[in-house]
């Protein structure tokens, strides 16, 4: 739908995004499946301490310069 309205997204940009993602997992020696398991376990721990259902938890590995880092983001609700 969007693609037909705004034209095709360049295939090389899609490839670049996919490569960046897969290489960050490769470099961290972590499989994407394990990442899902990690995310589920983090969610159960977080639920014990924060008033959040954890559904908006975002966990990923990222390349930051020379280093590969694990980044977890969780918006904490007010009040």
């Amino acid at each position: 739908m969007f693609q037909s309205l705004f034209g095709r997204r360049k295939s090389k940009d899609q490839l670049k995004d996919r490569l960046k993602l897969v290489l960050s997992y490769d470099r961290a020696k972590l499989s994407p499946g394990n990442m899902d398991a990690l995310k589920r376990e983090l969610m159960t721990v977080i639920k014990k301490y924060f008033p959040s259902d954890g559904s908006d938890l975002d966990v990923k590995v990222e390349q930051q310069g020379e280093r590969v880092v694990l980044v977890a983001n969780l918006p904490v609700q007010r009040g």
Partner: protein, 268 residues
């Protein structure tokens, strides 16, 4: 590059390691360096046929390692460029004689005998064949095609080279198709560099004449024709290895009146 022994590698097969070894080796020799190219792909040797020297192989790397001949007996001198030499791989399956220590000794002996540069053509993969090829090298040329599996494998190989403390790692982007890059359907060289984070030493455009020159066993970099873009690209790489600054040509659309006419009428 300071490295005298340089491994040519890629992880993935079929991206142009052997073609690169033959062409860069021939181009370095034409610039006056005494060069030995070594095929380490035991059981699947091909550098001899790509260089057109298959008819002259008597002894190979494994014969040297197992003491059936002297190192100098196994070295074939190219008659077209007399500073170019080949040490062929064995075509038998027995890889048990391959060892890092023997490889290091052979390369050391070549350098002591007065060779200026040794290019080691690595087999595909990340197993013992690659490790043996890399063991004798101080520098590496990583050949990559601008496509998903080649870039991923190159990243893995670069990690393994770094683990071996091979610091002079340089990237050759091979089989670039400028018209696809222009359409946004192929990674640009800068994209590949950004993803892999290593220094560039060459861009080789896709060129069907590479296959033709391989068919007849005559490395394209030995041909004088300036029309052969890939041959010129390999010669540029040889100059950059020698520390010269060579600008990168633009591999854009062909110029000239006929090309302009074709573009005007919507062709390629």
């Amino acid at each position: 590059m300071n490295a005298k022994a340089i491994v040519v590698t890629s992880g993935k097969g079929g991206v142009g390691k052997t073609t690169t070894t033959a062409n860069v080796g021939a181009a370095l020799a034409r610039l006056g360096e005494k060069v030995c190219v070594i095929d380490t792909d035991v059981g699947l040797r091909n550098l001899d046929v790509v260089m057109g020297l298959e008819g002259r192989v008597v002894y190979d790397l494994i014969d040297v390692f197992e003491g059936r001949c002297k190192l100098r007996q196994a070295i074939i001198r190219d008659k077209r460029v007399d500073t170019l030499h080949l040490l062929a791989a064995s075509q038998t399956r027995d890889k048990s004689a391959l060892s890092e220590a023997r490889m290091k000794d052979a390369v050391q002996a070549l350098l002591e005998e007065g060779f200026d540069r040794v290019l080691i053509d690595s087999p595909a993969g990340i197993e013992s064949g690659f490790q043996t090829a890399a063991s004798a090298a101080q520098g590496a040329l990583v050949v990559v095609n601008p496509e998903v599996s080649s870039v991923r494998d190159a990243d893995r190989i670069i990690g393994l080279l770094e683990a071996r403390e091979i610091t002079e790692v340089r990237l050759i982007v091979n089989r670039l198709r400028p018209e696809m890059v222009k359409r946004g359907d192929m990674l640009e060289v800068n994209d590949v560099l950004e993803i892999l984070g290593v220094k560039l030493i060459g861009i080789v455009p896709e060129d069907e004449r590479i296959l033709i020159s391989t068919n007849i066993g005559n490395p394209a970099s030995l041909e004088e024709s300036p029309k052969l873009a890939a041959g010129a690209a390999f010669r540029d790489i040889a100059q950059r290895i020698r520390g010269e600054e060579v600008p990168y040509p633009s591999f854009d659309q062909p110029t000239g009146f006929m090309a302009a006419l074709r573009r005007f009428f919507g062709g390629n």
